[in-house]
């Protein structure tokens, strides 16, 4: 990409967009799958370039330390998911769950969704962020419903309606922010440019900012999957194709969270506004505890991990709500780790569901005996997501819990309670899934284990050793977040 006429931030957007167009036209799923992988790889390259080459903030696009984290994560997981998707989708085609036409649609939508998410991440205009999030949502809605079964359509519909309401609320919040900025910055697009807003946030009307934040919290919070706004999330994860579940959990939630964080920074920059922290802490805890309890009665393996995503989003939002250098650092780390781990889990689960021909957990047992690689990957993934060392999630949970307990013991106790409850549920399930008397089909696997191993290895290394460069970067971001 070096020396290309396109600047990296534009490349991050253009590659998926062009690829989407291309994929929409091209028949043949093998080729499409490859193009999909290549396009994702190119986006990743472009994103990596952003690390070294930081463009000036424009009125529409800008890149700073914060969103580079998200973009990089986004493109990375997008890339690995596309690799996974290539093998996954092939199998779906074989067993006839999808037709070729739908596959073409699928690949195009995949890139379009990546475009939407990348756009939301690099956008400098709060209106543009909103549009991009909506785009990403709509594309995922279509993908969730792609199997066209009763359940899939229902899930997509639920996602669509709840998402629409959320989006409407977010828009109202965005308008209110504009309204707050308007007397200070003046009319026009400038009053929606984030870099300008943050600079003068202290002069805004605090009450209006508060109000805006309530709407934005609920609006984007719906996308993040915070309870009690979460209802779309489990079904969407469970009924859609597994690569989409991975991307939803690993990426889309992050994108919405990113939007939320931007506005949180805006509020934090104003001394007179309400502290956004307590609200986020509250919602985070509610999500965590609620999702932890919900994990127990799940029968569908993907739905269970979807609830686990809610749980972790709760922890992340909690961490960002607690703020402080440790809290933000932990939140950021946890988000990264969660994305990597959860997508790895979904990769594994996808293959498991394909091998076993079912997503019902009662019909999947004794995996470590019948399919050692998948079984142990699942165990490792669950151990990682449950916050067991030496995986990275442990480090972030360690930081969140220990830093909170000294400040707010009660909150930390609730947090620990929720974590423990969730842990119990996850381990209960993984015990029966991975151990015990094998049940169900024992056919061979054609799994692409590379993405799984890559993610788990990253998470493992992160639990033991974080490179100083990364730490400095994250710490910088944590400072940015206040």
């Amino acid at each position: 990409m070096i020396g290309t006429p396109v600047s990296p931030e534009a490349a991050v957007l253009l590659v998926p967009l062009v690829a989407a167009g291309l994929l929409a036209l091209l028949p043949g799923y093998r080729l499409s799958a490859r193009i999909n992988v290549v396009a994702s790889a190119l986006s990743l390259l472009a994103a990596v370039q952003l690390l070294f080459h930081r463009p000036e903030a424009g009125p529409l696009l800008f890149v700073d330390d914060l969103n580079v984290v998200f973009i990089l994560l986004n493109t990375l997981v997008g890339f690995t998911t596309s690799v996974f998707s290539a093998s996954y989708i092939g199998h779906e085609l074989e067993i006839g769950r999808l037709t070729r036409g739908y596959l073409r649609f699928y690949h195009a939508m995949y890139q379009l969704m990546m475009f939407g998410m990348n756009l939301a991440l690099v956008a400098n205009n709060i209106g543009l962020i909103w549009v991009a999030v909506e785009l990403a949502t709509l594309t995922t809605v279509l993908m969730v419903g792609i199997y066209r079964t009763h359940e899939a359509l229902e899930a997509a519909w639920k996602y669509f309606i709840l998402g629409s309401v959320g989006i409407a609320l977010a828009l109202f919040g965005t308008i209110l922010v504009y309204l707050a900025a308007h007397p200070v910055i003046g009319e026009g697009a400038d009053a929606m440019v984030w870099t300008i807003l943050i600079g003068r946030a202290a002069e805004f009307d605090p009450a209006l900012l508060n109000l805006a934040f309530v709407f934005l919290l609920l609006g984007y919070g719906t996308k993040v999957g915070l309870a009690p706004l979460h209802a779309w999330l489990p079904d969407a994860h469970a009924e859609g194709p597994t690569p989409i579940s991975a991307v939803l959990s690993g990426l889309l939630l992050n994108v919405a969270l990113y939007a939320l964080l931007r506005f949180k920074m805006l509020l934090a920059a104003h001394p007179g506004a309400i502290a956004p922290g307590p609200l986020m802490v509250m919602l985070g805890l509610v999500s965590l505890v609620f999702a932890a309890f919900m994990l127990y009665r799940r029968r569908d393996i993907k739905r269970m991990f979807a609830y686990s995503s809610i749980e972790h989003m709760g922890i992340i939002v909690f961490a960002f709500g607690m703020a402080g250098p440790l809290g933000n650092f932990a939140g950021l780390l946890h988000m990264t780790m969660h994305s990597l781990t959860k997508s790895a889990i979904f990769f594994t689960v996808g293959h498991i569901a394909q091998v076993k021909g079912t997503q019902r957990m009662a019909e999947i047992r004794g995996l470590t005996e019948t399919h050692p690689v998948l079984g142990w990957s699942l165990v490792a993934g669950v151990a990682a997501i449950a916050g067991l060392p030496p995986f990275g999630v442990f480090m972030s949970e360690f930081l969140v819990v220990s830093s909170t307990f000294a400040r707010e013991p009660l909150l930390a106790l609730v947090l620990v309670f929720g974590v423990l409850i969730g842990f119990g549920a996850l381990l209960l399930r993984v015990t029966s899934l991975a151990f015990g008397e094998p049940v169900g089909r024992t056919g061979p696997v054609q799994a692409s284990t590379l993405p799984i191993f890559a993610h788990l290895a990253l998470v493992l290394v992160a639990g033991l050793y974080l490179p100083p460069g990364l730490v400095a970067w994250f710490q910088n971001v944590a400072r940015l977040l206040g």
């Binding site: 409407a168 828009l171 109202f172 504009y178 309204l179 009307d205």
Partner: protein
């Protein structure tokens, strides 16, 4: 003159709230759709007025979209839907009409209480607009959650969205308003299409897949 501007804007926004209440009050679907159409017309007027007083011609586009799409196309589609899907003409409510009216009044009070102190520094036209818009949004949401059948829920969502457009146009010089209203229209169109496609009769959430198969002309 500014007084007049203000009064007209105020009246239009106020009548939007009033119409929202009328929607809450309606028991019959057909009438509800009619009120929705009227709601959209008033919105279009209001937007146009804003375009006039703010001197922003592109807002006329928004007004036109509101008029054509929301006041004519969507209500027509909804009426057709009622006929085609054989939806009950009675609206099944969760709470009594009286109660939802009371709740609506509470919501308006809430939005005033929240919004007016918050917008002290804002231009009075926008201030009134935004407060009333919030009321419309909240009542729209209330409509969605207290009505059991799909059409009235769509109506609720539409009025919610009208409130947002009102707010967006009220905020002076806000960019992207047109784009946003277009995006929203797409959303609404999708919802309406979705209801058609999935034959969602009574409830918002049971998808009739068999109907869908018939519609697509293929059997699995």
């Amino acid at each position: 003159m500014p007084k007049l501007y203000f009064d007209i804007a105020h009246t239009l926004a106020g009548s939007l709230v009033l119409l929202s209440f009328v929607m809450l009050y309606q028991r019959r679907l057909g009438a509800l759709v009619n009120v929705l159409a009227l709601h959209a017309v008033v919105l279009a007027l209001s937007v146009a007025w804003q375009a006039h007083i703010q001197g922003l011609p592109h807002l006329y586009i928004t007004a036109a979209i509101a008029l054509v799409f929301k006041a004519i196309v969507v209500p027509m589609a909804l009426r057709r839907m009622i006929v085609m899907l054989g939806i009950h003409r009675e609206i099944e409510t969760v709470t009594g009409i009286g109660l939802s009216m009371l709740a609506g009044i509470g919501l308006v009070a809430l939005s005033m209480a929240v919004m007016l102190p918050a917008t002290a520094g804002v231009d009075p036209v926008a201030r009134e607009d935004i407060a009333l818009a919030l009321s419309v949004v909240l009542i729209g949401l209330l409509l969605m959650v207290t009505r059991r059948n799909a059409v009235s829920q769509v109506v609720g969502f539409l009025s919610l969205e009208n409130g947002i457009v009102l707010a967006a146009t009220g905020a002076q010089g806000m960019p992207l308003v047109v784009e946003i209203s277009v995006a929203f229209s797409i959303l609404i169109a999708l919802i309406v299409i979705g209801i058609f496609l999935f034959r969602i009769r009574e409830r918002f959430d049971t998808v009739d897949v068999q109907a869908l198969d018939r519609f697509r002309g293929e059997r699995r």
